[in-house]
Amino acid sequence: MTSALINVPAKAKRGDIIEIKTLMSHIMETGYRHKASGEVVPRNIITGFTCRFNGNEIFRTDLFPAIAANPFITFFTTATESGKFEFEWTGDQGFSETASASISVE
């Protein structure tokens, strides 16, 4: 069970440009906030997001504390062949999550 929401069309025509939407559940603690007692809340963010299609990297993002909680990232890709998208999020405190989605291209 993964805490990611992925939106990839199940089918596409060859050559279509499709939109991929991803949402990862994460607090994205900035490291700039203080507790009432004055101590700094340690930073805990997702620093990287990568999308691979059939093993090849097609999209990558470096994230900073300025990204809102539950990072929502959308991008486009050209449907060239049927295959599997693999998504990977990595972050502070050893955070790592993966998700995948398949597409069939006619």
Binding site: T30, D62, I67, A68, T78
Partner: protein, 159 residues
């Protein structure tokens, strides 16, 4: 007899004022059209390596007036083909007044087909957002938007 000191005083003030204007003029010329804090400028310098950044091609969609800085939708579109020989290599987004100048870097490939990305960001204050696109020929294009934020994000106290 009172006329003389008065007029010389007036002359003196006039001269001083003129000198002040002359002194201030070069400062005004040296500054860019939009004053940018040093942090933003150095973050952009890190990405471009000092190359000239042209304005255009990039479209930065972000609401001009934001009620809550914790979640601000943002879309960057680059009007450029994504052909293997000529494409958008990366999109970098910066801000002026958050604790850190970087917001996100998006690395694209010709496989993307369209140079458009969306995400949601945090804004700590009313400020300028800058998006810079790097093309495969090494040129840089940018767009910027001024955003007014009524409720700031990032530094509030945890209860």
């Amino acid at each position: 007899m009172q006329q003389l000191p008065n007029s010389s005083r007036r002359q003196f003030l006039g001269l001083a004022g003129g000198a002040a204007v002359l002194g201030a003029l070069p400062v005004v010329i040296v500054r860019p059209a939009e004053a940018t804090p040093a942090m933003l400028a150095s973050a952009i310098q890190n990405v471009t390596g000092g190359a000239a950044v042209q304005s255009g091609k990039v479209k930065l969609d972000i609401p001009p007036l934001v009620e809550n800085g914790n979640t601000v939708p943002m879309t960057v579109t680059v009007a450029h083909p994504m052909a293997p020989e000529d494409h958008v290599r990366s999109i970098h987004v910066f801000n002026e007044k958050n604790p850190q100048p970087n917001i996100a870097n998006f690395h694209l490939s010709p496989h993307n087909g369209r140079a458009q990305v969306s995400t949601r960001i945090r804004l700590a204050d009313s400020q300028k957002i800058v998006a810079i696109a790097k093309l495969s020929d090494g040129s840089f294009w940018s767009a910027s938007v001024d955003v007014v934020v009524t409720l700031a994000a990032c530094t509030e106290e945890v209860i």
